[in-house]
Symmetry: C2
Subunit: 182 residues, 2 copies
Amino acid sequence: MHVFWRRGYDGASVEDLTRATGLNRSSLYAAWDDKRGLFLAAVERYARTRLATVMATLEGGGSLGEDLAAFFEAVADLSVTEREAGGCLISCALADAAGKDATLRNELQRRFVAMELRLEARLARAAAPGGDSPATLAGLLASTARGMMLRARAGASREEVLAIGRAAARLVTEAVERPSKT
Amino acid sequence: MHVFWRRGYDGASVEDLTRATGLNRSSLYAAWDDKRGLFLAAVERYARTRLATVMATLEGGGSLGEDLAAFFEAVADLSVTEREAGGCLISCALADAAGKDATLRNELQRRFVAMELRLEARLARAAAPGGDSPATLAGLLASTARGMMLRARAGASREEVLAIGRAAARLVTEAVERPSKT
DNA sequence: GTCGTTTCGGAATATTCGTTCCAAATATTG
DNA sequence: CAATATTTGGAACGAATATTCCGAAACGAC
């Protein structure tokens, strides 16, 4: 997983992957069919480990504002781990690889939608009627989180990224709790 | 430019590039030194043409809310041109390529900072004291725009992306005009 | 210990890529 | 027209890639 994370899909050679997994070439091709299969497995593990801790913040039991603040703090943390490449395995490596392969593009969409649905569900629990729909606000939160990941990849520090996240959490919370427009 | 846009940095073969530019291999290597030089030239042209129209919306002469709405409308438009790959040459192709090369990583940072400074300048013209700093809000707007680009790459329609942008424009405008916290 | 099965390491293959080179074609200049 | 410079198309090169293959080593069961 870390090899793909650091170097991206194309950048990770099978040579690197055998060294990192401990498995040798033959076993690797036996376990997954090809490099793409291994990559998808890495994405799955990334989602189950790293992203799960991010998403878990949404069920933190606090108010919407508290949960969103915790969410973006987790995003900021994740954005600066694996510093050498920076960013998110999905928003960077998978988003890149999506350009060449329909399977990977579908995977990217699946992962994006999954996150947005989680956010939407959390928002729906707190939404007052009127204002933007939970779906739109969930898309906004998810887009912001992904933009933060990209920004970290371009060299922003945890603090800079975190400031953005805190602002997003506050603005969206206010929008939900006191919608201003029809 | 379009070849890199559609296929990304690695995905674009020199073969494709000669066909697209009309120039042949030799002339191409004479004009720029190598593939990376040509790519940087493509990024420059992309910034001077496509991004310039996006950034110009910020000097539209309207209120902050109107200008930001126009800004995100331009972002949404850009996110769905070159449909085959989708997204933004900088947020997708350059952000990807940044993983392998320090020069490209610096270029990504330069481009990101440039956009944020433009946004910050526009916000500063309208900011009431208190609340989040124009720099942070500019980072938020830029991150959102980049997230929208990524989302379009994963298959979202212009309308879905636009809804996110409209929400972001409204929320930030309200935050600037009537800051709620200290 | 010996056989059968599974793992291992690395050589071999075929393809693709960026880049260089060269000779023919074309344009430019006197 | 002749001489020289520039551009062109494509072959050639070297490095890197994903994938396949095969003999050897390791291991477990009896």
